[in-house]
Symmetry: C2
Subunit: 490 residues, 2 copies
């Protein structure tokens, strides 16, 4: 809850500030407005996203305050006419701006479907706009990585999953926030020591090829490692010849066993991991090392893991780097942040819609909330409703894009609203769970999904729709906007 | 040159610390060693990488020092036996460790080919290992983005290129360091205000759809924007109907013109950008706005730009976001950091090799330097040589992977060594250029490439090879390692 200026309050797109200036010139900047942060298309061929990044976003919001040097920088900006971009009176008001927004959000670890707000921001127009970019940056990326990690966790089953991505991550914070989100999404540990210190994530790691190469022979290097850490040996066996490396590990493991220690395992980092792991398992078992674990790394993700498991690979610990921390197969989540209501001239909150030639990209107007319905502790469907038009009177979910029969969720035995109050007037009104609690929540939420919805691909669509009056309002607004537009074109 | 502890010195993989501990246990930790940072496979279907990130890496190195809380964290780590992972005497030595390495590096903006060291680190083994991960993180990502930006710049020609990626970047630093590298690689400006302040990059931006939606009509919103910033109007025209939006922009632009101002342009952010830009251009020209620029954004990269330009699109300003700042089509550069020499028992620096079943992944031993040859101010080829075996006696470049005739670079009229001294004994010995100077250097270096090598894809291979004695040494070491391994298997 500290309110130390972060020095990062300028982390926004310039157009947020030029718009703030425009609103200020119009005397509109304090007008109440409502924005939703949501995504339209789920990543990785799945049906859902695991929400993450809220705590990080709140740290940025808590530290929000423009410093004298921030204001000086804005004062230095000039336009095409080489004149100052902003008037001094505006900058003076900016320097006093403090966030007084209301924020409602899904908990980290929640399962989120397309068009459902992960965050709802309500407050002064210029504040809501300013914070857009930092919210998107944080929530988009961490949700993407938590989603990827949850897919890997599903395939891993009871195996261990270690996140090893620091060296290939997109910058320092690309690594730090990926470690955080990967742990939240289901990884067991990270190689990133600073992330371990900062977030309390368990850290893991043994040795690299350079260790082996620093000695005259591989055997000598394994012996030296065993001398230093006799109870923590996972030997990397592929510096020269992998199966030869396994034999050297067994030799040194035998020496450890004879002196009262236990070799933890071996690591494979190149070659055909399935075939090598099967051969290594046989060698280890034949030498009495049934408990020694086989760790594997090298360009792995949930798809490779699934294939390797199907092919009988006995790998028990998965080191996942690049493909997890960069979400290699889809490195960005296309989350957006859209205006959905604004105070009109009469002081009344009035819904707004953004049209698109693509029907699915036309936004949902209002002050939105997501109600999730359950039966036997499994989610059966969601209804998006607006607090302006009211909560569902019946559990019918109207599809937003087509004139179809609504989904009937009458079979439910429980329901809950997913957006919970986090900030009121800029002040925290919720105690947020720790990272490990959010990780546990994410695990529990995955179990509340039907197994079919959780499939890596080709899952049946989840039942989602709009509340009836909201659906009607939206249809009317689309018609009205089109008519207005045609008239304005005359 | 400040030496303020950054608090980020634990930004490393745990195995770097367990190895440091192992070396310390063996009394080997201060042994002199040499590591190279290089990549094997160029991204995006091209032939080269634009080096970037050195300045950021040096900031991390300058701030290196383990704090009391860092040491306390390491002291808290336990192994599989639930005993402390590290002995106190080791942690005491660690707390006193300061970097005394020698660092040689290619300048930011240099053109780098596969297997060529971007960085060479020489110094105490435990120090060289510790810094590996942070170096890789910084250099891999920024070089990737600078490379992507340089490809975009090549296609843009004299058009403006604006980096708009903050909202979809991989975390805060994923955005900040992408903005830096994108500018270095050839972008003209960023939307990220904090990056503008931190790095001196020009910032650009106008307004979003939410601006238009905050007013009753699009026309009203354009008028309000024009009132606030009459000389800086780029109207976003696609909130409702794009060509209708262009007509509204022309109306407001006409009013601006009649009051002594100039509409700068319009922005398209959805739909068929080629067709819409052509139609918009005709409308603008017909209304006398020949100088108004068409800005376009929405999932653009060099490939989309090339197609749109070929199809006659009159877009003059390109806003590039997600696909640039995440390097969407290849979101990681597989840079590695390999031991290539280490002090042996006699105190002599002795080359080391890492074998691989894939010949191309077998490393190059020695203390490496890259000599580039030029003719008529164009680079014609590079020779990798080792300072242990000596510089090229003749300009012959021996292919590292196949028994082929060497490339003969005799036609050269100039040559230079690309790795330059940056740190000696941990102290700076070079004054680094500013970001804008490095950007200019990158531009000049691109012009020193032959146009064919710079092609987006299917470029002819660049002539690269090893110096003759280095090539022979490497062949001998491969043979020797294989023989040793076979003997050790008996």
């Amino acid at each position: 809850m500290s309110r130390q200026p972060s020095g990062r309050s300028l982390l926004t797109d310039l157009y947020q500030i030029t718009m703030a200036y425009g609103y200020w010139c119009q005397g509109m900047h304090e007008r109440e407005s409502v924005f939703h942060l949501f995504y339209r298309s789920p990543p990785f061929g799945g049906r859902h996203v695991v929400a993450a990044g809220l705590v990080t976003a709140l740290e940025w919001l808590d530290g929000f305050a423009l410093s004298a040097s921030d204001i000086a920088f804005l004062k230095s900006l000039v336009g095409n006419d080489n004149q100052p971009l902003f008037r001094d009176a505006f900058l003076a008001d900016l320097s006093k701006m403090r966030l007084t927004i209301d924020l409602d959000a899904m908990r980290e670890g929640s399962i989120v479907y397309p068009h459902e707000p992960l965050l709802r921001v309500r407050g002064q127009l210029w504040q809501c706009q300013w914070i857009e970019t930092a919210l998107l940056n944080t929530i988009n990326f961490q949700s993407l990585i938590a989603t990827k990690a949850s897919r890997i966790r599903d395939i891993a089953g009871n195996d261990s999953v270690l996140e090893f991505g620091l060296r290939r991550a997109q910058g320092v914070d690309g690594a730090m926030s990926a470690s955080r989100a990967a742990y939240l999404g289901g990884c067991d540990a990270t190689s990133n020591v600073l992330a371990g210190k900062a977030y309390g994530i368990p850290v893991r790691g043994t040795h690299a090829h350079s260790w082996v190469m620093s000695f005259e022979t591989e055997r000598e290097s394994f012996n030296a490692y065993a001398d230093a850490m006799p109870n923590n040996c996972i030997f990397l066996v592929d510096t020269y010849d992998t199966l030869e490396g396994v034999r050297h590990a067994i030799e040194v493991g035998t020496r450890l066993r004879n002196t009262g220690h236990t070799m933890v395992g071996i690591r494979l980092d190149s070659g055909d991991l399935t075939s090598l792991s099967i051969q290594a398992r046989m060698l280890l078992d034949a030498a009495g090392f049934q408990d020694a674990k086989i760790v594997a790394s090298n360009d792995l993700d949930e798809n490779a893991m699934r294939e390797m498991k199907a092919a009988g690979s006995p790998i028990a610990v998965w080191g996942i780097g690049t493909k997890l921390v960069t979400a290699y197969d889809q490195p960005a989540l296309g989350g957006v942040y859209k205006l959905a209501a604004i105070q009109d001239g009469n002081g009344k909150l009035s819904p707004r819609i953004k049209l698109s030639e693509t029907a699915i990209k036309t936004s949902v107007p209002g002050v939105l909330q997501v109600r999730r319905y359950y039966r036997d502790s499994h989610a059966v469907g969601d209804i998006l409703y607006s607090e302006l038009t009211g909560p569902p009177q019946s559990p019918m979910a109207f599809a937003p894009t087509a004139k179809r029969e609504p989904h009937d969720l009458s079979e439910h035995d429980a329901s809950e609203d997913l957006l919970v109050p986090i900030l009121r007037g800029g002040q925290r009104v919720a105690t947020l769970p720790s990272l490990i609690e959010s990780r546990e929540f994410a695990r529990a939420e995955r179990l509340r999904m039907s197994p079919s919805t959780r499939q890596l691909e080709d899952a049946p669509p989840y039942r989602f729709g709009l509340e009836e009056r909201l659906s009607q309002l939206r249809e009317n607004m689309i018609t009205q906007a089109t008519v207005t537009n045609v008239e304005s074109a005359k």
